[in-house]
Amino acid sequence: MSKNNFFDDKLYRFVLFIMVLVLGSFAVVGIMRINSSIRDAVVTLFETGESKIVDFEFKKLFKNTNGKRAQQMAWFTGIKMNKDSLLNPSQIMLGAYDSRANSNFRSILRLEDSLKTHLPLMQIYTTWGSRPENKFPVAEVKSILNLGSLPLITWEPWLNSFNAVQYPDIRDIKERSKHGLTDIANGFYDRYLRDWARDAKAAKVPIFLRFAHEMNDPFRYPWGPHNNSIDEYIQAWQHVHSVFDSLGVENVIWVWSPHVSYEGYEAFYPGQEYVDYIATNILNYGEGMEWSNWYSFDKLFKFHYDKFALYQKPMMIAEFGTLEYGGNKSQWFSDALTNFPEKYPMVKALLFFHVENDNTAILKTFDWYFIEDSSCVNVISKSINGWK
């Protein structure tokens, strides 16, 4: 080449122009293609490394006595890797969701210390979406396992935080919730589902999965009957289940969890082969709401226990608690928990709903916390430690 006339020749100018367009497009598409095809592998690689750090620190460095928690729950440690045993455990698996346990488990461990017991189950609430926090909660699950417990993941199919670029089939954000369950059943969200399922499989331990809970409540969540028909719900459930099956995910325990205050929930049952546990929430609002009254646990649950029993599945009280409007909190717990295993032999899991500032009800926030109420704590501790 002589001097700088490379760009002066007309032909070269033309060739260059075309090359910029072609090469530039190829480069961008190429990088995106390669990135999206190796992304999972790379991210998994790093997450594996990260979980090795967590393991190493917990097992090799950490010298605090709490580390022996798993040994102290020997009966549970013996069955926790076996899905079949978890469907029929020898005693009730207690657990909790603690609203102060968002960034650590300190409060939940304090709760079990106060109750003089151990909580084999720890509940995580997580929502659908395309953001990092919508991914399978790898770190939390890992931590729960390191603590010696198992996770109950309440998995809420909110659809409004999906990025439309990554999910081209999905509808406009304003219309997304109407018949959203059909979109799920039609596979529009399969990419998310598959990612999540793969991560769940990679956790390699049983995971209780409570998907689309309270699906029969026509007021609360977008996946309720005000947006979807019963058929749509069942198809969505079956589709989600089949995506997990197709990826060979066998460590998930499927928890179907209707809201028993609304009648006709039986119609939402996805089918015997799609459900492992039947759960519900038993929360006594007392006189805290216009529509509510002080009800005992038995009043709230017994009738439905008998109906649930027909399915021949183990049962779970996924959210268990009471407010103190119009009654005695300690008494409520005492009535509920005394001789519980005899009264409700099919209930295999019971999780305290230990939530401060619950603002899921409009206009009011509720305090389900009881750790600071020593008479409550004593009553509960006495009851559960008196179980045979």
Partner: protein, 531 residues
């Protein structure tokens, strides 16, 4: 360094030519690089990556700045050009200016004067002297140079040049540093370009003969190899070859048009800018036709770098705005890029402090998956490496200059406190006198070594503290969730710690290494050929 390599030091050596295929390769790399940067930024700027908004904003801005600089570096390489050297016409009048200051080694100046005498194109050598030492006058006369006593001239080098311009009449002036040994064919490689009446100055490569005398010298020299190769060749292609103060041949008319050489801390860059703004063209000829001395110890290097860092900011505030409207777009970007290079000291500091900010407050600037960061950042690194390898074909003296330049990378990190200090003093408008670059090794511990000591102690202390806390005191519930973040940040801090240890090694004083001066080691018979 082997013997043949050092023998070839003293032969004229020119960078390789730029072929069509080179342009094609650079072009493809450039497109790939832009795509990689675009991909990275698109991925980076996401609401879900924000942890603390203010921190995210600051770090995003810095990232974008760093990436923009990087793209410009690639753009420079894309424009790499090597001019054909026109034959120097006979009969031009040429002055060679070399300077001597009080305290400068006589032996070194003597070698330079002797070499000047051997330059084959007819010229007059002037020694611009303020030593008030008669030995310098004797030396000048011994080698047929004109001795000009220029004492009490303001502004050191540039001031002397301006005074000497008044005392002389030659049309072309070669400014040569007193530590540089010009080759006989020096002027034949520059004067021909002035046949184009618009050419104001011709710069050639700056090379060294003492880079193997110490780690520091090697590192400092390595930092310049690419600059005098592909970078300046790229500036040349952008119409913005920069005068770097030495080894530069000027047209007297160009000096006259801007009122002489600019006096200041970044006077070379300032002069270069003024000439470009006045409409003069510049040429960079990537050829080794002289060799000089590179700082052999960190103190000398730090002084030189401090001067440039300090001067660069003043350059942005004082010089650039006035000249800006008269520059071409390429020239604007080039000068901005050169002058903002020294911000890297400040940026380095921020990145060093980041992990400690997290340890103390728990704040993170970003909330992202490490794997995704690596995945998206990887492409930029790959393209950078490809460029790095490819542009090595334009080293001026490939036998000694090609390689990974890892010493230069460590030195680049080691110099951040210098850059930062220069920038801060400049912001505070502290008056700093002109400092000539040291020719002899300075044995004292550099004050710029201290930040590395502090940082190393800080790291060891914080590491021990966090480890003990997490082993014995933290509650289990806190431990598990904080593991990943804590140890990733500790990993970043450790990298800086390792770099700091390297830097301490680099900045350590090393006088014991030097029993002779570099100019005593020049090969014998260097000047015989044309003598």
């Amino acid at each position: 360094m082997n013997k043949s390599e050092s023998n070839s030091y003293w032969q004229v050596s020119r960078a390789a030519s730029v072929r069509k295929i080179d342009k094609l390769v650079l072009f493809i790399l450039f497109i790939a690089g832009v795509a990689a940067v675009a991909n990275f930024l698109v991925w980076w700027v996401k609401v879900e990556h924000v942890d603390v908004l203010a921190l995210f904003a600051i770090f995003s801005f810095i990232f974008i700045y760093v990436l923009a600089r990087l793209v410009f570096v690639w753009y420079t390489y894309l424009n790499v050009s090597r001019p054909d050297v026109p034959v120097a016409p006979k009969g031009l009048t040429v002055a060679v200016f070399t300077t001597s200051y009080r305290g400068e080694p006589l032996d070194m100046v003597r070698k330079t004067l002797e070499a000047c005498k051997n330059i084959s194109y007819p010229h007059t050598t002037y020694l611009l002297d303020n030593t008030e030492d008669p030995a310098f006058r004797t030396a000048a006369e011994e080698f047929g140079a004109v001795w000009l006593e220029l004492i009490n001239v303001p502004g050191a080098k540039a001031g002397k040049i301006n005074r000497a311009l008044e005392l002389t009449t030659e049309d072309y002036i070669l400014v040569l540093d007193p530590d540089h040994i010009p080759f006989p064919k020096f002027l034949d490689n520059t004067l021909g370009f002035f046949s184009d009446a618009q050419v104001g100055f011709v710069q050639v490569s700056q090379a060294y003969y003492n880079q193997n005398r110490s780690f520091m010298a090697h590192a400092a020299a390595q930092q310049t190899y690419t600059f005098y190769g592909a970078t300046q060749m790229g500036y040349n292609g952008l119409g913005c070859a920069i005068a770097i103060g030495a080894n530069c041949t000027f047209r007297r008319a160009a000096f006259d048009s801007i009122g002489g050489h600019v006096v200041g801390l970044a006077e070379d860059l300032q002069t270069s800018l003024k000439l470009h703004a006045a409409g003069w063209k510049s040429v960079y000829n990537p050829v080794v036709v002289s060799r000089g001395i590179v700082p052999e110890d960190f103190n000398s290097f730090a002084k030189q770098q401090f001067k440039w860092a300090f001067g660069a900011l003043g350059f942005i505030y004082n010089d650039l705005p006035a000249a800006f409207p008269n520059l071409s777009m390429n020239q604007k970007i080039t000068y901005l890029s050169i002058a903002t290079y020294y911000f890297s000291g400040f940026i380095n500091l921020l990145f060093l402090l980041l992990p400690f900010l997290f340890f103390v407050t728990g704040y993170l600037p970003v909330n992202m998956l490490l794997g995704e960061f690596v995945l998206n950042g990887m492409w930029i690194v790959l393209v950078s490496i490809a460029f790095y390898i490819y542009v090595q074909r334009w080293m001026c003296h490939p036998a000694s200059e090609r390689g990974w330049h890892w010493r230069a990378m460590i030195l680049k990190f080691a110099v951040w406190p210098v850059f930062l200090y220069g920038m801060l003093l400049s912001l505070a408008k502290v008056d700093v006198p002109y400092i000539p670059t040291a020719k002899r090794a300075d044995a004292s511990i550099s004050p710029f070594a201290k930040p590395f000591l502090w940082y190393s102690w800080l790291f060891v202390f914080v590491f021990a503290l966090i480890l003990l806390y997490r082993m014995f005191f933290i509650e289990l519930g806190d431990l598990l969730f904080s593991s990943v973040k804590t140890w990733i940040m500790m990993g970043f801090a450790f990298m800086s710690f390792a770099m700091s240890l390297w830097a301490l090694f680099v900045v350590r004083p090393g006088k014991h290494l030097y029993t002779t001066d570099p100019w005593d080691e020049l090969p014998t018979g260097l000047f015989k050929k044309s003598a």
